[in-house]
Amino acid sequence: MSWDWNVVEDFMPRFWDGVLVTLQALVIGTLIAFVLGLVWALAQRSSQAWVRWPVTAVTEFIRNTPLLVQLFFLFYVVPNFGPSMSPLTTGIVGLGLHYSTYTAEVYRAGIGGVPVGQWEAATALSLSKGRTWRAVILPQAIRRVVPPLGNYVVAMLKDSPMIATIGAFDMLGEAQAFSNETFTTEALTVVGVAFIVVAYPASLLIRALERRLVR
């Protein structure tokens, strides 16, 4: 076993292509997961059973089936009757959708953790529904949800290589392809290091945020 820096150098162009895919999947996937999760959580609090029930069914279904199956379904099955998307778009949507069902639970717990007295005080002051959510409930819920949400971002980063299975080559996908073509292993090590270079500072950032927000 020897380490060859020339192999690393050869891999670099494709590494950066992969990094770009990974970061796109992570950033846009996170946005989808955060926004959609809030939509699920709010819908599950609806007073209308016809809103609550289907949302609960769909989110439970997604949360309890493997991400890999969902990616295959989105990529191979959905185009038969719905929109056909590029591998990267499909991967991003799949990651975002899958993780939105987890963030929904985080939001649900965060909102449920705001004391009932806060709702009562808002009522007593005649604050409108929208104002109560925006000014009173969500700002307090956010504090409770940031640390667990951050953990899901890191988890999503670690799940992002799965999108290579439908042809969206993230950094691991690129590394594996490169290694197979060149019969080398350096690229895989580079990517392993790259993951920790991104994930560990992200974890530290979450801890810092947590300390700032918990008052």
């Binding site: 806060q118 009562e120 005649s126 604050l127 409108s128 104002r131 000014a135 700002p139 307090q140 008052r215």
Partner: protein, 271 residues
């Protein structure tokens, strides 16, 4: 105000002293099979300070929560300054009130809670100005000025830029009082406002309330276990038991010479 006249918000002036401000007609409230209020009738005249006393579970707090529309009556009607609170008239028929109607009538009512319920994500100033700005439509400057005046009254001017968590319980409760008053309600509901406080902090809060009772014409409805305070500020004391008013009268009468054995029994237990 008779039920068949249509009171208009602009012209009615219910704050005239002595007129009936709050009226409960035949109000029943149940939680499951537990009847908390049993066909309750009572009224409060404008500007009066009324204290509700009685054993816990007798329905006192439920009355305040009904007035604050935190719970809805199962039967009967509640009127505040001539307008139905829980119902509204449509085509001459009484129907459960919509959200908009409730919000309009509720603006006349303020409440101070046992647990303060200040908004922990807002500084003291914004706790007080949030509702005047977003609900009453005051400008930021007008609301700030109103808040400063109220903070001076409750003796907390120097804490205007702090978060609730930086204040003691007594200070938080005084902010909560200022917050309720900033809406200029006709009625102030006080729900055991000193029960969650350390004993040495109670006096400061009660002093503020005595001040308000003396210097404003606000109507107060007060649930308390502080019998001396009740004696001080009340015009009228209502003794509750099992969801009914069993005795009412001036504080002198109720505390010194109650008619009902149940009242005497209760008072000897708490005094």
């Amino acid at each position: 105000m008779s039920a068949d006249s249509t009171p208009s918000k602009e012209t009615s002036n219910p704050a005239v002293d002595g007129s009936e401000l709050i009226r409960f007609d035949n109000v029943t409230k149940r939680f499951g099979s537990n009847v908390v209020l049993d066909k309750l009738d009572f009224s409060v005249a404008s500007g009066k300070h009324v204290t509700l006393i009685g054993p816990s579970g007798s329905g006192k707090t439920t009355i305040l929560r009904l007035l604050m529309t935190l719970v809805k009556p199962d039967e009967g009607t509640i009127k505040v300054s001539g307008e139905y609170l829980s119902h509204e008239e449509r085509n001459g028929k009484l129907v459960p009130a919509g959200e908009k109607h409730i919000r309009e009538v509720r603006k006349n009512i303020g409440m101070v809670f046992q647990q303060f319920n200040l908004f922990p994500n807002m500084k003291v100033l914004r706790n007080i100005t949030e509702a005047p700005v977003t609900v009453l439509g005051l400008s930021k400057d007008e609301a700030d000025e109103r808040a400063r005046g109220l903070l001076e009254m409750v003796g907390l001017t120097e804490h205007i830029d702090k978060y609730p968590s930086q204040l003691s319980g007594g200070q938080q409760q005084r902010v909560a009082i200022a917050r309720a008053l900033a809406m200029r309600p006709q009625v102030l509901l006080l729900d055991e406002v000193t029960s969650a406080l350390d004993p040495e902090l109670v006096a400061g809060v009660l002093d503020v309330l005595r001040d308000i009772a003396r210097t404003t014409d606000i109507t107060m409805l007060c649930v308390t276990h502080e019998m001396n305070f009740a004696r001080d500020i009340s015009d009228q004391v209502l003794m509750f038991d099992s969801g009914r008013v069993i005795e009412s009268g001036s504080p002198e009468k109720i505390f010194n010479d109650p008619e009902k054995d149940r009242t005497r029994e209760f008072l000897s237990a708490v005094l």
